[in-house]
Symmetry: C2
Subunit: 440 residues, 2 copies
């Protein structure tokens, strides 16, 4: 059988891994694909840079567009990330009759429908296992293994950088900034980590999973997205003491026919698998109406785990099953999409930490506001503070107060927040995080 | 597109679930498959039994062979289990030009090569996602998502019944027999649970995974297989105290170019995901040379989770990708298989619990035997026993002694065991289990 000729755009950490596997494991890949896979062209930013990898028989160029449209390329692998020029390159490749493999979740989240449509019109396919959760095969699983099911819930840690930082903070007692610096030093965070720590990356990945699982297109501006960049070590320790771990949790689930979606730092009860997933790992819990809940975890980022996912897509294209998979994914709006649950109706438990004035009646004022908003308390924790030795020494002005609520709505919580602010006895801003899992 | 016509053999817990999904979710299945799926024939054991499920348009019969070869059947789904008549039915179906979906790990473990060859010769395919780990898509993952990798290690809990029983014993302090009875009452164990509790079921599943991951055919009689049927609550508690959980662990891994394989109750350090997988759940850790380690877990048995896997195979057949998947699986011995590591070379840590005579010099005698066999001790635990109030009261005759070793070989361990037996100060049989994970 003829070789599948691959044009690779981007030779960074992931691209380098892909090139290495295709070149050094050519026999393995041919065996798995049923035909040889040949890396014919690679587009790089700088031809003069020295590289550790030897690519005999591969033409290196800085002309990405030429690779995307070259006659000796059957499949274009886009690994440069970002929207520009990735969108133009993918469209050019599809228009030139190439299949496309990409790891670019930002691109698919933003321009997915346009690109998917273009592929379909040309009879081509786009494979994107590597766009979500690195080496964890969640796209294959949703697209093929779960076909008996209506997915009813996805809950996941989808950003390895944030999870690494939270783990460092908690395990080493590190401040947020120090944990970020360590993540950068170890290669788990980029020089500008804002996409990761602000929750955007996880929200884009959740958007893609939601499109596949529910047939609904949702972009991060349409649902609650918060990052870990305001997390305080105190809250990780409080959570631990109360039996919870704090994780950047991405959730999409069906609630009475609507989609509840959010990506936020969340307290998760320690007996749940997500709470016990530490470091640069991702984990995804999929619940389906037939299978129940199944869990998938592994390294969510890094050159080789992501390269493993990219290469599995390349093999699928070579073997001829990528097109079938692509055509049968729920990308086409064949049924009416689920609508998003309005934010104020989202129903959860909450953890709140206030710094309150240390004077009489403060507790009564706060719990009165919560009570009037129908928010019922599950637990209250105010630690004893040092008692001054005599009355001439002023007491500490603010003391921490930690409250966990029973289930309530985001709407009630926000109404209460406005009233709490007016009380004047609470320092702003205070901390508020949702919780998952009933009290033990 | 023409409907895929399905003939189902077996309408038990799993078969009933499959029939229900195909019938009641016909629109969903057509959407996921790209064509209608029609359940034309079902073979049952007893036509007169009342059933909760309505199957309009489906012909019920007791003639399984007629279903396997019927002209209005394109795909035969074999869900009766066991070797006879399953083997004959599957061969008849393949010879009649049908594709086959089966959940029968015993059949594939015993007759896999014959059946796979028959399918290949006829240009048909066999799909068997449901044969291992119920609703956890480990066959899809090995066959498609991990194609960039040489798998280097599989470690797994593959028998939900055994895991449920171990969890019950530990959490409720139940004796083995009581936990088995409860598992039976709750439907997690069959009336005759011997295939499950003796380790055969898990070993057959490990054999199938090994064929796929390493291209090596291994049957349970060729490697170390022990079940949980001799486990004592004392050992679960000792393990817990030492920082370990006891699980029926199935392992296949490459060690210096050979395959180390065993399925045995094993002490696993509590910080590992396998140690924290409780109840009727399965978990599989796959390590590949590119992706690192990824984890998969979910309910490993039960009607609906297994039906979910069967239906995903049916959809793959309907969509036309099952044949591609089947043809590219490592089932054909295209490369020289890895040979099994000789049992006496298997290198692990061990937990041992002896009941020893409570007299002077016993500890010296035992540790002398271990030391002379080059077995080095990681920890020794002998609890204080009641001291008789005066010398006229005899002391307790036997006291428990728990030893954890550093890494040693099964060969040394067996040599030591022969010598220990000769000492006469140890009650036989004693308890010996391998351990996973270095000391914390």
């Amino acid at each position: 059988m003829d070789a599948l000729r691959v044009g690779l755009i981007g030779l960074g950490t992931v691209g380098g891994g892909v090139a290495q596997i295709l070149t050094h494991q050519a026999a393995r890949m041919a065996h798995r694909s049923g035909r040889p896979i040949q890396l014919t062209r690679v587009a790089v930013r700088d031809l003069t840079r020295s590289r550790s990898i030897e690519l005999p028989g591969t033409q290196l160029t800085t002309e990405a567009l030429a690779v995307a449209t070259a006659p000796d390329v059957d499949l274009v692998v886009e690994l440069i990330g970002g929207l520009k020029p990735a969108r133009e390159l993918v469209l050019a490749a599809l228009n030139a009759g190439k299949d496309v493999v990409t790891a670019n979740k930002a691109l698919l989240c933003e321009h997915g429908p346009e690109l998917f449509r273009a592929a379909r019109e040309r009879g081509r396919c786009i494979a994107f296992e590597a766009a979500v959760a690195g080496g964890v095969p969640i796209i294959h699983t949703l697209g093929q293994a779960m076909t008996a099911n209506q997915i009813t819930s996805i809950e996941a840690i989808l950003n390895g950088t944030s999870n690494f930082i939270l783990t460092q903070m908690f395990q080493k007692g590190a401040a947020y900034a120090d944990a970020v610096a360590e993540a950068q030093a170890l290669g788990f965070a980029e020089a500008d980590p804002s996409m990761d720590v602000q929750g955007t990356d996880a929200a884009q990945k959740l958007g893609l999973l939601t499109l596949l699982a529910f047939g609904t297109r949702v972009t991060p501006d349409q649902f609650l997205v918060q990052g870990i960049d305001t997390i305080d070590l105190d809250d990780l320790r409080n959570a631990d003491e109360l039996g919870y771990a704090v994780k950047l949790l991405a959730t999409a689930r069906l609630v009475e026919g609507q989609l509840e979606m959010h990506t936020q730092p969340t307290l998760i009860r320690k007996d749940r698998p997500i709470a016990r997933t530490d470091g640069p790992f991702n984990i995804i819990g999929l619940t389906g109406d037939v299978v129940g809940t199944t869990w998938y975890s592994g390294q969510g980022a890094g050159g080789l785990p992501t390269a493993s996912a990219v290469v599995s897509d390349i093999v699928d294209v070579a073997a001829g099953r990528a097109k079938t998979n692509f055509d049968l994914l729920d990308l086409w709006g064949n049924h009416p999409p689920f609508s998003l649950q309005p934010v104020h109706e989202i129903n959860r438990r909450y953890y709140m930490r206030f710094l309150v004035e240390d004077r009489a009646h403060v507790m009564a004022e706060i719990t009165d506001v919560l009570g009037r908003n129908d928010i019922s308390l599950a637990s209250v924790m105010q630690r004893e503070t040092a008692e001054p030795e005599d009355d001439t020494i002023p007491r500490q002005k603010y003391v921490p107060l930690v409250i966990m609520t029973h289930r309530t709505t985001e709407g009630r919580l926000r109404a209460a927040a406005i009233q709490l602010e007016k009380l004047g006895c609470i320092r702003t801003p205070w901390v508020c995080m949702p919780m998952e899992g009933i009290p033990l």
